[in-house]
């Protein structure tokens, strides 16, 4: 009997061993993988891979970088957190709650843009934000939509107790809006513009009301970056080369934006309209200035308090300050002994100085 127990244990251990080896180990390596999902500000990642710009920059540093598209946004973050990828595009809020909250030391390598109207609240047959009181609101719970709702309610003196939040998958949001019992939704582009186009829909609040709070960032594993600075240089160099191309109205820029538009299921006009509600940092100087701004620590404090309030910061989180966030000037929000999210503009500064 004892023998068979011992045998079974060994077998189980052997079977589960691969699971335990998954975390990305800090070491010098040459092959890197980053992931991204569909969003207006992240479409350049797919184009970098397809156009060969990424390969050009990777070759310059003698490494290889594979950029992988993942259909489900949350799944892409989970994969990064589990150690399958060295970097992933995500918002500041999700970076704090999923990888950083899960103990994966994460650095904001490229601050790409912030939502400036890309996320919004839509009411059916009502025109004022205050009318949302007492309604059922369909949104992806615990996402930036939820955060936007909480911030919007603050502005009219309401709180979440005044309404009922229904967790609704983003994939079903448009179909949901078509049903009679859905009267209020919070969502993001391209779904937002699709729903807003309906005749009974009024956008009563959007992220332009809280500029700079929903930030889209390429997050990378801090240890991997520390051991392989070339990885950071190649990614940053490729990114800003493409930013220069896509912000211009040259043929090359239009071709790039058209390709991104098609990849996100719209056309050039539709994509340009989404870009108009996105504050893209086309130059590294803008991104560096934003990352160093005094508002960023304020924003991260809001975000941490929201996450704590919703119980997302993880088991045993005694306060919003449970996970530390460090900023370019060396200041830290939260626990200095548990800094897991780092805003480090040094690679973007290199891009600005032209030293990549």
């Amino acid at each position: 009997m004892l023998k068979s127990i011992a045998k079974a244990t060994l077998l189980a251990a052997a079977l589960t061993m691969p699971l335990s080896l998954a975390p990305a180990k800090a070491e010098v390596k040459t092959d890197f993988k980053v992931c991204w999902s569909i969003y207006v500000g992240w479409m350049p990642w797919g184009y970098l891979q397809d156009s060969g710009i990424m390969k050009k920059w990777a070759d310059k540093y003698g490494i290889s970088v594979e950029i992988v598209q993942i259909n489900d946004y949350v799944e892409s973050i989970n994969q990064y957190t589990a150690g399958e990828y060295d970097g992933c595009s995500m918002t500041n809020m999700d970076a704090l709650s999923i990888p950083a909250g899960g103990g994966v030391d994460t650095t904001a390598l490229i601050v790409g843009d912030y939502s400036n109207g890309n996320d919004g609240i839509i009411l059916k047959d009502k025109t004022e934000l205050a009318d949302i009181k007492g309604q059922t609101v369909n949104l992806v719970e615990l996402s930036v939509s939820h955060y936007l709702l909480a911030r919007a309610l603050d502005t009219v003196g309401l709180s979440e107790q005044d309404l009922t939040v229904v967790n609704t998958s983003d994939a079903d949001m448009i179909a949901a809006y078509a049903t009679d019992d859905v009267t209020a939704v919070v969502t993001w582009n391209p779904l937002l513009s699709e729903i807003e186009a309906q005749s009974n829909a009024t956008k009563v609040f959007d992220s332009a009301g809280i500029p700079g709070e929903i930030i889209d960032i390429m997050m990378v594993n801090t240890e991997t970056l520390a051991d392989n600075p070339d990885f950071g240089k190649a990614l940053t160099g490729a990114w800003y080369e493409l930013m220069g191309i896509m912000s211009s109205d040259s043929d090359e820029g239009i071709a790039a934006r058209t390709a991104m538009a098609e990849a996100s299921g719209t056309d050039l006009a539709g994509y340009d309209a989404q870009l108009a509600t996105t504050k893209m940092f086309f130059t590294p100087e803008e991104a560096v200035a934003f990352t160093k701004s005094a508002e960023l620590p304020e924003t991260m404090k809001f975000v941490a308090e929201f996450l704590f309030d919703k119980g997302i910061l993880g088991e045993g989180a005694p306060s919003p300050e449970f996970v530390g966030v460090s900023f370019p000037d060396g200041s830290v929000y939260g626990d200095k002994a548990n800094v897991k999210l780092k805003f480090d503009p040094s690679f973007m500064v290199m891009a600005a100085d032209g030293t990549l």
């Binding site: 079974a8 079977l15 335990s20 999923i98 899960g102 229904v166 967790n167 609704t168 079903d172 088991e315």
Partner: protein, 273 residues
């Protein structure tokens, strides 16, 4: 003695039965231990302790926002949906099963349609269900019914067809009306098969329940899992999976015992899993 004739004692049966479970838990604990050596706050394979703590918290500590005990609220709501859906499916299976199996004209009219309908993957028509039934409870229950009823009806109709023809002829010879044959001959033969169909129907029913709750909901076991998935809270997800499995297992066991008690004659055939 040959191995096929050596029967384990009661104690050995119990120990052998528990062994794979123990091996799974030990295997998990080892994998989790190695991952947490690397990163003590690892979210993917949390420690058994932290899962127990999270489960305890869900079961006994009122939610910060609503003041509900989340585990019990989720369990109650999910079981209510599952129970309502399966009650409707069972009623449909019994009535349509007898009609299709016993009355040739009904069979000719409905059997091919039903066979085709049962092949539609229910998830694919979910957007239609939304628009028809709204996003509330009705759509979720409808998904369970559409997912389970056709197959249950088919298995009931087959069970009616399997009743020996001689018995039907004998009843007719004795002058029984159609109604008498249904109540005295078909129904008693069918009820134990109905419980079997219900037990088998519960397997896809759980899948449809969880899928429906994942899409638009404010409570339920599936809702909770898909909600906390947003921040990779495996310390909540894994105990919930175990809890769902336990509930499904108990339901199945309950139905088996019911069948054994109520229809003793249907269980004379010896061992059954």
């Amino acid at each position: 003695m040959r191995i096929i004739n050596r029967k384990p004692s009661r104690l050995t049966t119990l120990v052998l039965g528990l062994l794979p479970f123990a091996a799974t838990v030990i295997g998990y604990a080892i994998a989790s231990h190695y991952r947490r050596l690397d990163n003590p706050a690892d979210k993917l394979l949390p420690s058994l302790d932290s899962m127990a703590a999270a489960f305890w918290r869900m079961a006994t500590v009122p939610d910060r926002r609503s003041g509900d005990l989340l585990l019990w609220l989720d369990t109650y709501d999910s079981l209510w949906r599952l129970g309502t859906g399966m009650a409707v499916s069972t009623a449909l299976a019994l009535s349509f099963g007898i009609a299709i199996g016993f009355i040739p004209h009904v069979r000719a009219a409905l059997a091919p349609y039903l066979a085709t309908f049962s092949l539609i993957p229910p998830i694919t028509i979910l957007p239609i269900l939304f628009i028809t039934f709204g996003l509330g409870e009705l759509a979720k229950i409808a998904l369970i019914v559409i997912g389970t009823a056709p197959v249950m009806i088919r298995s009931m109709a087959q069970a009616v067809l399997d009743i020996p023809r001689e018995m039907v002829i004998k009843a007719e010879t004795l002058g029984a009306s159609v109604w008498q044959m249904i109540t005295r001959l078909v129904l008693p033969q069918l009820l134990p098969r109905l419980i079997t169909a219900l037990r088998l129907g519960l397997v896809p029913a759980w899948i449809f329940l969880i899928s429906a709750e994942a899409i638009a909901s404010t409570s339920g076991l599936g809702y909770r899992i898909f909600l906390v998935r947003r921040y990779l809270a495996m310390d909540v997800i894994l105990p919930y999976v175990v809890w769902i499995t336990l509930l499904a297992f108990l339901l199945d066991l309950l139905l088996l015992q019911l069948s054994r008690r109520a229809f003793r004659w249907a269980h004379l055939g010896g061992d059954a899993l």
